[in-house]
């Protein structure tokens, strides 16, 4: 990430973007007082160019381009350790969700295809079967991402331990599942859901 000097003014601080993040995440960005506890406990912080606390700091200064230009938000695994431990009740995990959505919508440079692909396939599976069908998820992911042999040797081990089912079992109440998906889609169209 660039170490370029920040020119701070009312024009360069995009407060509207921050407000959007706050509205989507339902939490305050300004509340963060930079204690660093989120980054201290984050299991993915070592992979991020901006650890969670710095993401908050950049948001406070309205520097969202710097946040979205990096991959940090896509490394977040939503474990919510940050949210659980924040001393000042900032829901950082929700902010990460909001940032990922805004990044996706803005078609930003940080569209990390594998993460997005995995998310998409995960949800497609749920929609089709009503529950997760891991075998299909892994197979389709490998095909679509072009890494045909990825983690292939793990398969037999997981099957032997009963962790991976060869055949799917479908939910009995598929119409209810479909209702959930359509409702969320409508909400997203209205902009009231992530």
């Amino acid at each position: 990430m660039t170490k370029k000097k920040m020119i701070i003014s009312q024009e360069t601080m995009d407060v509207d973007f921050v407000r959007k993040v706050e509205a989507l995440a339902g939490t305050s960005v300004r509340s963060c007082f930079q204690c660093g506890k989120c980054s201290a406990g984050c299991p993915m912080a070592t992979f991020m160019e901006h650890p969670p606390n710095r993401i908050m700091r950049l948001l406070q200064l309205g520097q969202w381009q710097r946040v979205l230009a990096g991959r940090s938000i896509w490394y977040c695994v939503s474990c919510e350790t940050c949210t659980t431990r924040c001393p000042n009740t900032v829901d950082l995990a929700s902010i990460m969700d909001a940032l990922r959505k805004l990044s996706w919508d803005s078609d930003g440079a940080s569209k990390e295809s594998y993460v997005q692909l995995a998310n998409k396939l995960f949800l497609q599976n749920i929609r089709t079967y009503g529950r997760q069908y891991e075998m299909r998820l892994a197979a389709v992911f490998n095909v679509k991402s072009g890494q045909f042999l990825k983690d292939l040797m793990l398969g037999p081990k997981l099957i032997a331990k009963g962790k991976l089912k060869v055949f799917h079992s479908k939910n009995k109440n598929m119409s209810e599942i479909e209702k959930i998906f359509t409702r969320i889609e409508e909400m997203r169209k209205k902009g009231v859901a992530l």
């Binding site: 701070i8 300004r30 200064l61």
Partner: protein, 665 residues
């Protein structure tokens, strides 16, 4: 023959860990004159003291030596215990075998031998101790308060409300001090004037308070309970009794362009002026340096328009002597000079911030005057350079404070809070503006303080940037602020319309000179020193002088008011008795040997040495000798060391005693 009792304390393990206390007790017990010696785990505890008392009665002891900690710790404790058992308290001495022995040694054998020596010396010394009677001195129940800021006002009101007379001396033409200059106060944002002026009026109207404004302390003589203070009342050129405070003189004065110090020199005043509309007393002063009459001998407009004829160009400075029993010093603070290194001071300036060169770089107090409804802009935040409203304003904290390189290493304590307040005041007055704050740490201990600071960020939208500013420079009509956000780790640049520097708090100029007049001590920054940082925070080491407010160290208003009331309580404790008792460790002059050279008088830091005439029965003067006033003497012993004829002795520390101690080694 003396019957000395020696009591060796283990101090838990503090002493017994390195000193074989039982052996000390045994060996000391064999010394000539020692009738009884024992050891105990905690001599200062209730059973320990009972042990001492019982031994005095049962063993008919004549003197007591307690071998334990420093006399600074427990001398009083044991002297009290000895007194309770019927002995004169000054026949008890402490042998310090903790700080001087066990704490500083590791070898048990050597430490034990040293402890035996220390105790042996004190045994020889205590044999020569005299019975000393307690000294009583009368108390004048009037108090002097120096400085009429919020500290002085609070202390004066508290003492006066208790029924004692108070003399309040203020250097400026009005009381009120710095608090009167403030716009709003943290953490409640109530208007400073609104809470201040009623107290100022109370002072003016209080029957027990005598107010001397535009006056300074010239000389302080005497001692606790009996001070004589000479006050210089500077010529006001206006007769206070005749003046009605109508203000016509000020409207007619042709000199209208004099920078008003009260408005931090951004507002103007006339040559005859009151510093601010709510001034107490509301009597103007003629500034003789800027008055046309005093410069050229012409004009005199004020005199012509004054109905009651109060203008008096001939008025002179007058000296007034007041007798008081206690003094409260509340001279307050001054702000750090930012731009250049003040002459003769070890403290450096901040050339890199351009204060004084860039007109829109101001200090916090100037911002207070801009934000104040009674200030030069009527409460509008406007730039000094062109009168425009600044849309981007930068505040920089710790300017001077915590900057060892500049000569100040302390934290000024109030800047974090007042800067948070400034961002709020700015946000309330300039809705489309943005405030930025560069800070190192936010130090906000205090009731509702941290919440206040967080509010400035979370609700009032101030942007705080952690990191110090390197430099400020003018670019067109903007000021470029070069900083660094250490949370992100990148350089930050802001083009600001105005910059406010939270400058360090320093003691009032001339604080050292006043301290020398009062005989009180001060630190390297000239803040006055309290007697004990924790347990005697409002008293000076010099008896009868008390401290209140920022003259002792940076303080906010609540803390200043608390300290002022505490100082007042100490004064009232002193005034609760007609006579006061003093420890009789004082110097005595052997008149037969004194030749009247008065070398002792020259070295006495407390002014305790007086001249005394010796006359025969016919009244013929034989000689003049030195006399030490026991009420004033602090028992420092300097006179004893100085006297060329060895005619001064400090009770409890006589030459005879010291020699006996050396011989015991």
């Amino acid at each position: 023959m003396s019957r000395i009792g020696v009591f060796i304390c283990h101090c838990g393990e503090n002493i017994s860990r390195t000193v074989d206390v039982e052996r000390v007790a045994e060996e000391v017990g064999r010394l000539p004159g020692v009738a009884f010696s024992t050891d105990y785990k905690y001599m200062c505890s209730d059973p320990g003291q009972t042990l001492v008392k019982k031994a005095i009665q049962e063993q008919k002891l004549s003197h007591v030596v307690v071998a334990a900690c420093s006399p600074r710790m427990h001398e009083k404790t044991f002297r009290k215990a000895v007194e309770a058992a019927g002995l004169n308290p000054f026949l008890c001495e402490m042998a310090n075998i903790r700080e001087h022995c066990s704490w500083v040694h590791e070898n048990r054998e050597e430490a034990t031998v040293k402890a035996i020596d220390i105790v042996g010396m004190m045994v020889e010394r205590v044999k020569k101790n005299r019975i000393l009677p307690t000294i009583t001195v009368p108390v004048t129940k009037r108090a002097l308060v120096i400085g009429g800021g919020i500290a002085g006002i609070q202390a004066a009101l508290d003492i006066a409300d208790c029924g004692h007379e108070v003399i309040l001396v203020e250097r400026e033409p009005s009381i009120g001090g710095h608090m009167a200059q403030l716009s709003e106060t943290f953490p409640t944002l109530d208007c400073s004037q609104c809470i201040m002026t009623p107290k100022m009026v109370d002072v003016a109207n209080h029957p027990k308070i005598k107010l001397y404004t535009y006056s300074e302390i010239e000389l302080v003589e005497g001692y606790i309970g009996n001070f004589q203070v000479t006050i210089k009342k500077k010529a006001r050129s206006v007769d206070e009794d005749k003046c009605t405070g109508c203000g016509v003189c000020m409207t007619k004065c042709p000199q209208k362009k004099i920078p008003n110090k009260f408005d931090q020199n951004i507002g103007m005043r006339t040559a005859i002026y009151v510093p601010f509309p709510q001034a107490v007393p509301n009597t103007p002063v003629i500034d003789r340096d800027n008055c046309t009459w005093f410069k050229t001998g012409k004009c005199g407009v004020c005199q012509k328009v004054c109905g009651p004829g109060a203008i008096d160009f001939e008025q002179q400075d007058t000296l007034i002597v007041e007798a008081v029993g206690a003094i409260v010093v509340s001279t307050g603070f001054d702000l750090y000079t930012i731009a250049e290194k003040p002459k003769g001071s070890p403290i450096k300036g901040y050339g890199e911030f351009g204060h004084g060169k860039i007109p829109d770089v101001i200090d916090g107090m100037t911002f207070e005057r801009l934000a104040s409804a009674s200030g030069p802009t009527g409460g509008k935040i406007l730039r000094p350079s062109d009168g425009k409203e600044p849309k981007q304003i930068v505040f920089i904290q710790c300017v001077g404070s915590r900057a060892r390189e500049k000569g100040i290493s302390y934290c000024s304590k109030v800047c974090c809070m007042y800067t948070a307040k400034h961002t709020m005041l700015y946000h309330h007055k300039v809705h489309d503006g943005q405030a930025y704050v560069f800070f190192m740490d936010a130090r906000t201990p205090g009731k509702s303080y941290d919440e206040f600071w967080r509010r400035s960020i979370e609700e009032e939208e101030a942007v705080y940037i952690r990191g110090m500013v390197s430099r400020l420079y003018q670019k067109g009509d903007k000021i470029v602020v070069m900083g660094n956000d250490i949370s992100v780790g990148v350089q930050v640049e802001i083009e600001a319309d105005m910059v406010v520097l939270a400058t360090a708090i320093q003691p009032q100029k001339g604080a050292d000179a006043l301290a020398q007049k009062l005989g009180i001590s001060y630190d390297k920054y000239h803040f006055y020193s309290e007697a004990h940082a924790k347990l005697r925070p409002v008293e000076c080491a010099t008896a009868g002088i008390y401290l209140a407010g920022a003259c002792q160290g940076p303080k906010d208003i609540p803390e200043t008011v608390s300290q002022a009331s505490a100082a007042a309580a100490k004064v009232m404790t002193l005034f609760s008795r007609d006579q006061m008792e003093r420890e009789p460790i004082v110097a005595r002059v052997r008149e037969a040997g004194c030749v009247g050279c008065f070398a002792c008088k020259k070295v006495c830091a407390y002014g305790a040495v007086e001249e005394k005439e010796i006359r025969d029965r016919q009244g013929n003067l034989i000689k003049i000798v030195a006399y030490v006033n026991p009420g004033v003497c602090a028992g420092c012993g300097t006179c004893q060391a100085t006297c060329p004829s060895k005619s001064v002795e400090l009770d409890g520390y006589t030459d005879e005693q010291i020699i006996a101690m050396i011989e015991a080694l």
